[in-house]
């Protein structure tokens, strides 16, 4: 791998991250898109979770013997009742490792 390819890839990643953070980029976001963006966090974050829960190296995890699935469901319940973020995460992790014990 050459340094220029490494730097080019770094530029692409930075470009994707920074583009819309630049105020000089002339952009009027239509109302409908703005409304869609208000759902971006829950939708994208859960979309990132799905393959981690269901797949292991591209293969479907066993069902119902999938600790990630049960762990995720327990996390949902904990997150619903415990609204302090860090406590909820720690409780979810504890529950997950107890389930796996």
């Amino acid at each position: 791998m050459s340094w220029w390819l490494l730097l080019l890839l770094a530029f692409i990643v930075f470009f994707n991250r920074y583009l819309f953070l630049e105020p000089r980029l002339p952009l009027r976001i239509p109302t409908l898109v703005r409304e869609a963006l208000s759902y971006s966090a829950p939708c994208l974050l859960i979309a990132i979770c799905a393959p981690v829960i269901l797949l292991d190296n591209g293969e479907l995890r066993h069902f119902p013997d999938n600790p990630y699935l049960w762990g995720a469901l327990v996390s949902v319940i904990i997150a619903y009742f415990v609204r302090h973020m860090l406590s909820a995460v720690v409780l979810s992790l504890l529950a997950f490792y107890l389930l796996n014990w």
């Binding site: 791998m1 340094w3 490494l6 080019l8 890839l9 770094a10 692409i12 990643v13 930075f14 994707n16 991250r17 920074y18 583009l19 819309f20 953070l21 630049e22 105020p23 976001i29 109302t31 409908l32 898109v33 703005r34 409304e35 869609a36 963006l37 208000s38 759902y39 971006s40 966090a41 829950p42 939708c43 994208l44 974050l45 859960i46 979309a47 990132i48 979770c49 799905a50 393959p51 981690v52 829960i53 269901l54 797949l55 591209g58 600790p67 990630y68 762990g71 995720a72 996390s75 949902v76 904990i78 997150a79 973020m85 860090l86 909820a88 995460v89 720690v90 979810s92 992790l93 796996n100």
Partner: protein, 248 residues
């Protein structure tokens, strides 16, 4: 509809307040650091095993700073893919950042360049997750973002360095299921955000579509599923509003 009205840049905050925000960010991102520990080790050791020298291996983590992009690049290099296809793949693989940028645009464009550039560089999936207003009891601040982002960055580089050092003898951490930490954190962030039928519909749509597309090994499964969920949520919001129900 616009959930950024209460977000103000940190200029009005005291130095002590900024420092507290910085450390709050640094602490909040710890579970996500834990989640990427195996990936960081793998990125480092895989780079060495792909024939990169030590500085290039470290440079990948320090300059590109995108786990999935690094691992995919390395596996494409090993399989002899050409440079052009690597570039295209990485562009689409990291395209969810466009949505993060659009979502944070209103907050970040008000900031000075010296804050915009580091936030842009540090804007990973994990940092975006923590930028969600519901996570913090108070408004989003620059110090919080930089504290979380910088901690995550340093952790990533150090763990990669460890992976480079261990190279072939990197321990197999798969059995410790550290990646569950990302699920625990993201679910904890998402669940309190579901306050309306439209959000629930969007989340379920993204979840199912992402699972199906990932299983079918579709490139860009996450972005497609995310955007589809967002559009579905808007459609549901409009339909329920028309039928006279109130959405909260």
């Amino acid at each position: 509809m616009n959930n950024f009205e209460h977000l103000q840049p940190a200029s009005a905050h005291s130095l002590r307040g900024q420092r507290a925000q910085f450390f709050k960010g640094a602490i909040d991102i710890i579970p996500l650091c834990l989640a990427v520990l195996p990936w960081g080790l793998l990125a480092g050791s895989m780079a060495i095993q792909s024939g990169l020298d030590v500085w290039q291996s470290l440079g990948m983590s320090a300059i590109i700073f995108a786990g999935a992009a690094q691992l995919v690049t390395l596996s494409m290099l090993i399989s002899g893919a050409n440079v052009f296809s690597i570039i295209i793949t990485i562009f689409f693989l990291t395209s969810q950042h466009f949505i993060y940028g659009l979502t944070l645009r209103e907050f970040v464009t008000q900031l000075k360049l010296k804050y915009r550039l580091p936030i842009g560089f540090l804007l990973t999936d994990e940092l975006f997750a923590l930028s969600v207003p519901k996570v913090r009891e108070q408004a989003l601040t620059v110090s919080y973002l930089i504290g979380a982002g910088l901690t995550f960055y340093l952790f990533w580089v150090i763990v990669s360095a460890l992976g480079i050092w261990l190279a072939a003898s990197v321990p197999d951490l798969a059995k410790y299921h550290l990646d569950f930490s990302i699920i625990a954190t993201f679910i904890t962030i998402v669940v309190p955000m579901i306050k309306s039928l439209s959000t629930l519909a969007g989340v379920l749509c993204s979840l199912l579509l992402s699972a199906a597309l990932s299983l079918a090994q579709v490139e860009g499964a996450i972005v497609i599923a995310g955007i589809a969920g967002m559009m579905f949520a808007v459609a549901v919001a409009h339909l329920t509003r028309k039928s006279g129900e109130t959405t909260t």
